[in-house]
Amino acid sequence: MAVTRDAMDDAFGPGFLARRTVGDWLWAAGVPVATIGVLLAFGDAMGRSDVLILLGFAALLLPLGWSFRALQLFTPVVGGAAALALLQYGGELAAGEARFLLVYALASQSAIMWMSALFVLATVAYLAGLFARADWVARTGTALTWCATGMGFTGLLVRWHETYLIDPAIGYIPISNLYEAFILFCVITALIWLYYERRYAVRHLGGFVLTIISAAVAFLLWYSFDRAGHEIEPLVPALNSYWMKIHVPTNFIGYGAFALAAMVGVAYLLRERLLRTRPESRIANRLPLPAVLDDIMYKSIALGFAFFTIATFLGAIWAAEAWGSYWNWDPKEAWALIVWLTYAGWLHMRLTKGWHGAPMAWWAVIGLLVTAFCFLGVNMFLSGLHSYGEL
């Protein structure tokens, strides 16, 4: 009966492409335009692998912007700020200490300081939002997190340019030492959080997630002021490879997602404890329901695990090229395996045994300790091939 079929079409509404908004189409047009712009501006300095990585990145950005629409505004703002900084520099490193806009906002050091301050403020706002009656307090937290993330990404992009300004021979992508890695960790964790915040409408978790980011910021500041970690040093030969551009960010999606899962686990445990002692506790009742927390924890660990696996595989291919073997049982590799096993165990518990709730939350928290050791402890206490960011 044709009539029913038409009715069915109406019921299901327009198809995928017809549901795209104006923003979606602007995004679809903007990503290739921006990519071509980058190629025109920096093509001379880019090798074949750089071009391929750029194209791959653009190809990933397209669906990402369609499923996470906030990026449609965020990306051009960050790109614009970085472009403005480059124009201000005008090819002279010294401009970074002379031009107002660079000194106070966009030079990488300034942008990173802004990022740090804004992340701490965002943490405060989110936590205050947990207690406050007014909704705008926690909303401020979201806005501040966006601003901080924007400053962080801008800072990294500008720093990338600065390494080339020091000397074109030195130029490298700023994700190669501990200082830069921490910035990357902050912004990636924040971005994953912002996605889940919108997706699950769980703003009140912000204080928990931002706490771990603030802890990273604290380390970053100490590392920068006490150890001069922000100094730009040329890369050691083994790091001089295009693999770094893929291996490191992939790894940090893993670390970021694991950190987020752990903090959701903390929220879960805290909520449970509060409700046991004071069932009317406002904070506990403001936190999302256990089923939601549980689901976010699972999604986040699944995301982290998938990307961590990819990163380890990419690392293995890189290791085969640089060190002569895809697996050297180097401390970093061994710890990557330990992290992997920890979360493989978590996922088994969840998927095959159907475990939920507090034990899984505890496991996620312990998982973060293991991850933190892999990320930081290995550099501090163990030596090996990965000894790039020594403390």
Partner: protein
Amino acid sequence: MNLAISLLLTLAVASIIGTVVDETRTYSEYTADYGPFWFEVFRITGAYDVYSTGWFLVILAFLLVSTSVCLVRNAPAMLRELKSWRANVTYKSLQYSRHSRSWHAQAEPRDTADALCTGLGRAGYGSRVDEGPDHVLVTARRGRWNRLGYIFTHAAIVVIAFGGLLDSKIGIKVANLTGFLEVETRNLRASQIPDASWLPEWNHAFRGNVEVPEGTGTNVAFVNLYDGYVVQPLPFTLELKDFRIERYPTGQPKSYESDVRVHDPELDEPYEQTIAVNEPLRHRGYTVYQADFADGGTEFDLTAVPLNGHEEPVAFSGAVHEREAFPPREGVRIEYDDFALFNVNPVTREDGEVEQRNFGPSFDYTLRYPDGESRQYRNFMVPVEREGREYFLSGTRAGPDDDFRFLYIPADDARSMDRFVGLVERMDDPDRVRETAQTAVADAVGGSELDTAAGRAELERTVTDLVERFRTSGFDGVWAVVEENVPTDRQEQIFQAYLRVLQAALAGLYEDVLATEGVEQIGADEWAFFRDALTAINGFDGYGKEWILRLDAFEHVQASGFQIARAPGQNIVYFGSTLLIVGLFLMFYVDHRRLWIWLRREGEGTAILMAGRSARDTLDFEPHFHQMADRLARGTGAEPRSSE
């Protein structure tokens, strides 16, 4: 399944142990670190090589077996689940399903089923229609490839482990255990190594190292095993033509590169390629990596400059890695240890900024004395600037565990050691010392009550003695003279007086040196040189020898350290990893969802019952199910009758 989780965690803990002990060092370093008892304990438990000990492999094997068993047991069910429509459901089972909805449609069952299939198709579901005696059943499914995720991930673990096993040292270790292969611990040339330590050329998996000096070639690699090595012959010869270090403007190394030529009987003619870090050479299943570099026998022209003043400089030549008699001195042997073309060190400038500065070439050598004593030295070829003045640096230490202590020998206007050596020579010339002692004494006591012939002679002897003491033992020697001869309460006073007269005497010698050089005006620079010279002479005592070696010229010969590997399992491991990643994405991001829609004629229209199930029970499914039900209901032209 509990077994799998316990194994995962056991393996994690076992891996931790391996990271506690640094796995890359030698047995002698371990002994030095842990002492003989713990060294033995760690050796027996395999702590130096945890990842290839029996117990670690047993855990791995357990995990492998458990994974395989799981796979064999569950894969058929997974595949059935993948293929099946699960159309053999009953009305009751749907009714009691966790997610279910029912409504009434206008059209008769058959047409309604057609419409439902259209809607399901729009939502990405595949569907099929079964007609029963009194009902029509629409079954729909989506994302069934999720089931492959399980098979892929678990198969991947088995594949990766298999590939890893192929590339492991197990074959070599078994050969060693069964007595077919002996570990060589001595430092020998390849040609001298006994046959028992040679691996067969067909050995399919190994990872060895070899150092090739420029202008030579190799057709073997050395595979480390326990506290020694075994030799792996290669079916080709790798010749090193040139090794370079590319540097950043700041002097730090940017890349290490080797130009090599590959000679292989299977090739018509040799070919050339450049190997760099991150850019290995691949040849017939062998991969050659830039791993390391060293000195390949740099040749030196040296002059031994005497510090004792009464011998002539001796010129001779040597090369890194050579050991021979030390030409200027009978019975002493010299070993040329190393050479460095660049020495980039951080230097704090006057404005507080730290900059990287190149100190130029340096060479290391060891002198061995007949009494068994030995000292290591590191000398720089050209003078190094410090606070505006230039010095020849010569460091010394007793052994590799100590730091070098550097002697700063001031360079003269011609950037040579001549002026300094001239001063030392004169300090050893008794006639000149007596003359200068006379002048110094005359200046010091002239006209005083001590000024008698006997007093002068006595004082002159003392000054001569002081010069000798200072030359051999520095200021400490002068102090020793004071301690021997002077009551405690006057020691400090006499010491100061001695220093003044000693300095006056040495200044006399120094003026003499300058005069022969033709320097007449003695300015601040010259006096600064004098103070530096005294500081350097004061340091002779710890320097421990009478000669300083000056590097006049060198011919730099480098050696490139290659790692040569054959890893047939590598592609298997890569394939397994890809399988793992694909599997993970299928598991996490493809959800296997099923819908059942039971249609029964009811009056003119159709009574509909819909139920659903998701393989992964996440929060997403419930809203999805109700959205589907809403839409399907609207599409069949009915308001939902009830909802649970």
